[in-house]
Amino acid sequence: MNKFWKVLVVAVALIPAVTFAGHHEGEAPKKELTKEEARTKNTEYVKHHTLDSHDFGLFTNEETGSHIGFPLPVILWEDGLHVFMSSSFHPEEGNEHGVAESNGKYFMIGHHDGQVYSCDEHGNILEDVSEDAEGNEVVSEIQPLDFSITKNVFSTILICLLLFFVFRSVAKSYASGLAPTGAAKFFEPIVLFIRDEIAIPNIGNDYKKYMNYLLTVFFFIWFLNLAGMTPLGINVTGNIAVTAGLAIFTFLITNLSAKKDYWMHIFWMPGVPIPMKIMLIPIELVGLVVKPFALMIRLYANMLAGHIVLGSLIAVVVYFDSYLAKGAFVGLTFFMNIIELLVAALQAYIFTMLTALYFGSAAAEHAHEEAH
């Protein structure tokens, strides 16, 4: 375990924390903003921080307009594979728009959403004109398939490594004796909680085969939520693609491990008259999809909202001139941080809990005689 921490510290220390100029270069360095402008700027700022990014930004100097952070690999597919570092997107002398060239193709970051667009060498985004069903012209900007190691992917990799080393060390600590030592003292009660309070009451006797998924999903979400609490501005679980992935896993495992009773309840609900049985089929089928969809939206919305609220409160601290108001909002931000810390664990718990509930309905094998 110590070795891991040493490696991590060295790795972080060696990360090339390069300074690169941002999009704001060229603006007047010190310009008094009107209240309206400041509000818009803060809104953009908060929104920007909930989005994924191709750089790992650590710090922005508003006065010089420069960002400090490190570039991440960009992997694109557009008539072939394009791999380069995200530092190629940084605007510089002779490349004011930040156009990156790779194998004869040109790419740039869209300013409004931070996504990668295909463009020409002068920074004009390529557009695709097509006709919709009513014959109207639809102009869409061309985007390559983006498999980049973005900030979120990079954070996820770090958290996965952390999880792996933490829990491997927990597992190893049992080799010396069955009593928990070290990190196991902290994590064992949580593991037992998931087993005894989530898995067993909801799933029943079949809980063992689902434990791996439940434990992994709980700690994955919890650790990523906590990573979102750091000042690094990581917002992995507040991203719809991530929660969608997790919800799809829950959906797949539920339906692939489902027993006869589960399908009975969907296609031929026992205990109700036949017209009702037929009416219930579409409702149950919709429910099949709605359940994981709700899982996806719940986690995504909660984490995103938490980030926006915290970001807004911090912006408000800057926005006010009165030190009294600043102090009050610092206090409120602190309070919200505590709440968010709770929400981080709570959302992981809810996701795991509901997942276990769905698994339970799939694994249930109760002999009910037309009585429901």
Binding site: S148, V153, R168, A179, A241
Partner: protein
Amino acid sequence: MDKLLDQFSFGLFFWQALLFIGLLLLLRKFAWKPILGAVNEREEKISESLDLAEKTKKEMETLQAQNENLLKEARAERDSMIKDAKETANKMVEEAKGKAKDEAEKVMTSARESINAEKAAAITELKTQVAAFSIEIAEKLVRGELSAADKQKALADKLAEDINMN
């Protein structure tokens, strides 16, 4: 909703799914299996130990009862042994006393007998001696009497008188 879909990054989805599956497989092998195994093992051990303690307690109780019984028996045996020993000792003393009495009586009897015998012998001896002395005296007397003729005649007369008188 459009904005939501616009934000959906397929690349992020792909990487996240891949990383999650990798994490799931790694943790299953290196963490959850050993952790849950150890926890289960410990729980089994605890319940086993509790059972064993309960069993041992019961065993101890029966053992204690047995011990008490044994102790009681031993005490009873000891008492009976002491009693026996006392009886034997008394008997032996009695026997010895009886024997000694008998022996003493025997000795006394034989002593008395021998005394009587000696006495009888002494009396007989005395009688014999007295008789001898008497005869000697009578002889001497007779000799003196018979030394003179008249005396002989007187004696013979006397004897004859005695015989006649008889």
